[in-house]
């Protein structure tokens, strides 16, 4: 067996290759990461998927008619920049969404509405901030 120099064992070479591969994968996975946007910034790239954090506007009606379409909710959300926008959620109405103090929506801007397929809510419990399960369409 060939005796290589101590600092360049075969294991070390393979490790280097693996680390290089891992770094490549990790760097490329940053492309997967999304960003938190506002309605306005999400509108700059219509159709691209973003997260938007906002608050449900309870003064406007929450429309969900399962008789017509059990996968269709329409409501209005005020984002962190304070802009009100129409939101369409494809899924059943998330339980207790009226009581949520904050919601995170995953979806994209299409036309004048933000269309989302995933909603995560933060609901106030009586004395504690409990996280409550999401309404997830996917």
């Amino acid at each position: 067996m060939i005796q290589r120099q101590d600092f360049m064992k075969r294991t070390h070479i393979i490790l280097l290759i693996l680390v290089a591969a891992a770094v490549t994968i990790i760097v490329s996975m940053f492309g997967d990461f999304s960003t938190y946007e506002t309605f306005a910034s999400a509108a700059k790239e219509p159709g691209k998927q973003y997260h938007v954090i906002g608050f449900l506007d309870n003064s406007k009606p929450f429309v969900y008619n399962p008789e017509v379409d059990p996968n269709h909710c329409t409501f209005y959300v005020k984002d962190k920049a304070g802009n009100l926008n129409k939101v369409i959620f494809n899924g059943a109405k998330p339980t207790d969404i009226e009581k949520s103090e904050q919601i995170v929506m995953t979806g994209s801007m299409q036309g004048d509405a933000f269309r989302c397929h995933k909603i995560q809510m933060k609901c106030p419990s009586k004395y504690q901030n409990d996280q409550v399960a999401i309404g997830n369409a996917s």
Partner: protein, 828 residues
């Protein structure tokens, strides 16, 4: 402030409990100090060391007694519904079934730390009597960790704003001082009931999963403590056996605990699966991956004297990640990214956990640096045909896998930093599951391919011919098997075909290895069984996720663009919920599903929705299969969350697939009870038809020839019956005979009802001139009775559970084998 005498409080248990908490904290400190002295004086003065050690033992036993006292006291408070204590009020109520009493412990933060700590006590006592020469060092580490955990239960104030730990025995009136009711001496008269246990925890998996998971977490301390002890002593022989035995124990228990969580999620959560790459799930998976990696390099070190450094690093990293997981899941730092319900205990816990994490990291790091030069190293390099070479690579892949999972899971932790640098507010990937799957599938492929290969190889060097022959046979069988499976299961994606081959390779290889090499000796089957289980598990994951099918595709409504590749995927994405009206069958895949109504029982807060499934032969139209599922939902009767719904799925389990159903929305049962529907009047002649919700009624005429006993007839009555034939879409169902009679010049009506459709028929008036009657029909609007539900098929999900069971058995077989085996001299 003037002192108020409160009425009806039980203050004794709280004082006792708090005393126990302080006792256990002080005794943990004492034990850590005395064990440390025992270790430090070991070489200088054996007698003194022995005395210190005895003190340490007694200290630890007293510490255990204190912890047990805290546990029993808290249990007493919950069991006796002493709602003057915040913990009992917050996490239990009078209606709580006794089997969930223990669940109150893991709903609250204090209870979880207590449970974790109790397991450390149990394991610590075992270690105390088995660690022999390493006892003082291992027990020092265990005691230090116990100091950290016991401090979580103190609830001491250092100044007005800094609080250390959280006292589980705090009184409700102290916790909520600002509420005016607590200034009344008789406030307890108003606190009749507690807040109750989260309904999600009222599930049998939630009785068994948390204790097992916490035992798993607790048992990872032992291999870590042995590693630190070995570093401290500078002796890398003594720790090998116990570290390996305890790693096997921890690996088996933690793995089982994690997958029990998966089983719970599958059975009672509605995200439709057993694994969602949720941060909380990842947080327990990462330590397990590191532990398994460390276990393998430990075996390499034991057999060949190589890989000591990576073993020690992996063992330390593994335990640091246990605390990092606690930090992630308990402090609310995950914020918006996790679905798990954990409380935000605020800044105090945040810094407390960071302090513990930092201290442990410093301890491990300083010891490794101090010992760096003296680690035993092997100058030569390992052969490519040796087991250790590939085992090392496999472990390294597991480490990389853990790193990848951690980076994505930790987005909320590092995103403020990223924002400061780049200005971008980084969020998790929009499709988290795809993100992890796309990367981790390669890890699974490499690991499944390595598993059989490694077990065929021997340490140091192998007979190439034998190995290649065995690999060839295994690969051949696996290729045929995977080709058949890919074809029958319609698996088309290249990556998943490779994974299919990989898992078949592992399964075939392990069976071959168990029979041919280990000759089926049960004692030696640990490794074969664990890896066989892993292969079966991966196969199950592949089948059940790749061919997971949504049955409940809605065919009405609007299609939305979700940026999917084609229209049918878009349709699928937007139509996974289906509306079922009561008694109206809806086609779902090969089945028709019918919502038959709901039911409740007085001692169960749940509403059960009865959904009947039927499958018919397409040619003969005979029912070939039928079953009924009862997905249910908790309708919360209390407080702010009144009438909120928390659904639980129900599944029909077949050997080869599960049909999984849950309700996403239902009509409001309260709105249903006040019956608002009105009678509608129809003027009908003989032979006329009236439509109903399910079908129609045909008025066949009047019948004056009444059968006896249809009503309480009196001699002068004039009575007639209308004959109404009821039909549904399939055909005749029943005949209704509403009754009309005149007694003493007054007209009376008796309704007849069609129970199944909730239909009431009444004769309003008789119009003899036109040979007609006014028929009054009442039937609640269809919309009143409906559910919106989702139905999914998971093919071969039983392979997932089978794999987990075989894997866990393998861990314990290997552990037993290690314990009973006489150790050979360590190669160094």
């Amino acid at each position: 402030m003037e002192q108020v005498q409160f009425i009806g409080e039980h203050l004794m248990p709280g004082k006792l409990g708090h005393f126990f908490a302080i006792l256990s904290f002080v005794m943990a400190l004492f034990s850590a100090f005395t064990y440390w002295r025992a270790a430090a004086t070991e070489n200088k003065n054996a007698d003194s060391s022995r005395s210190w050690q005895l003190l340490g033992r007694n200290g630890f036993i007293l510490h255990v007694a204190g912890m047990a006292g805290v546990f029993i006291t808290l249990f007493y408070i919950i069991q006796n519904h002493l709602f003057e204590y915040h913990y009992a009020w917050r996490h239990s109520d009078l209606s709580l079934s006794p089997k969930y009493l223990l669940s109150c412990f893991w709903e609250g933060q204090e209870g979880s730390f207590l449970l974790w700590s109790i397991w450390h006590c149990v394991l610590g006592l075992i270690v105390m009597f088995t660690a022999k020469g390493l006892e003082s060092r291992v027990m020092t580490v265990i005691s230090i960790v116990q100091v950290a955990l016991a401090s979580m239960l103190l609830g001491f104030y250092l100044g007005p704003d800094i609080k250390i730990g959280s006292d589980p025995f705090i009184l409700l009136r102290v916790m909520m001082q600002e509420a005016p009711i607590f200034s009344q001496p008789n406030y307890l008269d108003f606190v009749k009931d507690g807040n109750g246990l989260n309904v999600l925890l009222q599930n049998y998996w939630m009785v068994i999963h948390p204790p097992i998971l916490f035992l798993g977490f607790a048992s990872t301390l032992i291999p870590f403590a042995y590693t630190i002890a070995a570093l401290w002593k500078g002796d890398y022989k003594q720790w090998l056996k116990p570290a390996q035995v305890w790693s096997l124990f921890a690996g088996g228990i933690l793995g089982t605990g994690i997958m029990m969580g998966g089983a719970w999620a599958y059975e009672s959560l509605t995200f439709g699966g057993y694994w969602a790459w949720d941060p909380v799930e990842n947080a327990s998976l990462v330590p397990w991956l590191l532990l398994v990696a460390g276990l393998h390099t430990l075996i390499v070190f034991k057999a060949t004297g190589r890989s000591i450094i990576i073993t020690i690093i992996l063992m330390c990293l593994m335990y640091l990640f246990v605390w990092y997981s606690t930090f992630l899941t308990r402090t609310g730092v995950l914020g918006d990214t996790s679905v798990h319900a954990f409380t935000d205990e605020g800044k105090a816990l945040y810094w407390h956990l960071l302090f513990v994490l930092g201290s442990l990291m410093l301890l491990a790091l300083l010891l490794i640096i101090a010992r760096w030069k003296s680690f035993p190293r092997v100058k030569t390099e390992e052969a490519v045909n040796s087991r250790e070479f590939w085992m090392f690579i496999g472990s390294f892949i597991l480490l990389l896998s853990a790193i990848q999972i951690s980076i994505t899971t930790s987005i909320p932790v590092w995103s403020p930093l990223a924002k400061a640098i780049t200005g971008k507010d980084v969020a998790p990937p929009t499709d988290v599951v795809k993100h992890y799957n796309d990367i981790q599938v390669w890890v699974a492929i490499i690991i499944t391919l390595l598993t059989a290969t490694i077990l065929y190889l021997r340490f140091k060097t192998s007979d190439n011919k034998t190995v290649l022959k065995r690999l060839g046979i295994t690969a051949g069988i696996a290729a045929v098997l995977s080709a058949i499976m890919a074809y029958t299961q319609r698996i088309g994606d290249a990556r998943y075909i490779v994974l299919l081959f990989g898992s078949s390779f592992t399964i075939v290889g392990m069976i071959y290895y168990a029979i041919k090499v280990q000759k089926g000796q049960l004692k030696k089957l640990g490794a074969a069984s664990t890896h066989l289980g892993f292969g079966i598990f991966i196969l199950g994951v592949l089948f059940s996720s790749y061919n997971k099918e949504v049955m409940s595709i809605n065919t009405m409504g609007v299609m939305m663009d979700f940026g999917k590749k084609n229209a049918s995927e878009n349709a699928r994405e937007s139509m996974e919920n289906v509306l079922l009206y009561k008694n109206t069958p809806v086609v779902m895949g090969e089945y028709t599903a019918t919502f038959k109504g709901d039911s409740t029982s007085p001692d169960d807060p749940r509403v059960f929705y009865k959904v009947a499934y039927e499958r018919r032969d397409t040619t003969t139209n005979k029912v070939t299969e039928s079953f009924t599922l009862y997905p249910d939902a908790f309708i919360n009767p209390k407080g702010q969350e009144e009438n909120s719904m928390s659904p639980n799925p129900d599944s029909k389990h077949y050997l080869t697939r599960d049909i999984f159903t849950y309700v996403t929305k239902a009509y409001d049962p309260n709105a249903k009870t006040d019956d608002t529907s009105q009678y509608k009047t129809h003027k009908v002649h003989e032979g006329d038809t009236v439509f109903t919700n399910e079908g129609y009624l045909i008025y066949a005429g009047l019948n004056t020839n009444l059968p006896a006993n249809v009503y309480d007839k009196q001699p002068n009555d004039i009575a007639v019956q209308a004959v109404l034939m009821a039909y549904d879409m399939k055909g005749p169902v029943d005949t209704l005979y509403p009754l009309y009679y005149i007694r003493d010049q007054y007209a009376y009506q008796l309704d007849d009802t069609l129970q199944a459709s909730n239909l009431y028929a009444r004769i309003g008036n008789i119009i003899p001139d036109e040979k007609a009657i006014e028929l009054k029909i009442k039937q609640p609007e269809k919309e009143d009775d409906y559910i919106v539900m989702k139905a999914l098929i998971f093919p071969y999900i039983n392979l997932v559970w089978l794999g987990v069971i075989i894997m866990a058995l393998g861990f314990f077989l290997a552990m037993l084998n290690r314990i009973t085996k006489k150790e050979k001299a360590v190669a160094a």
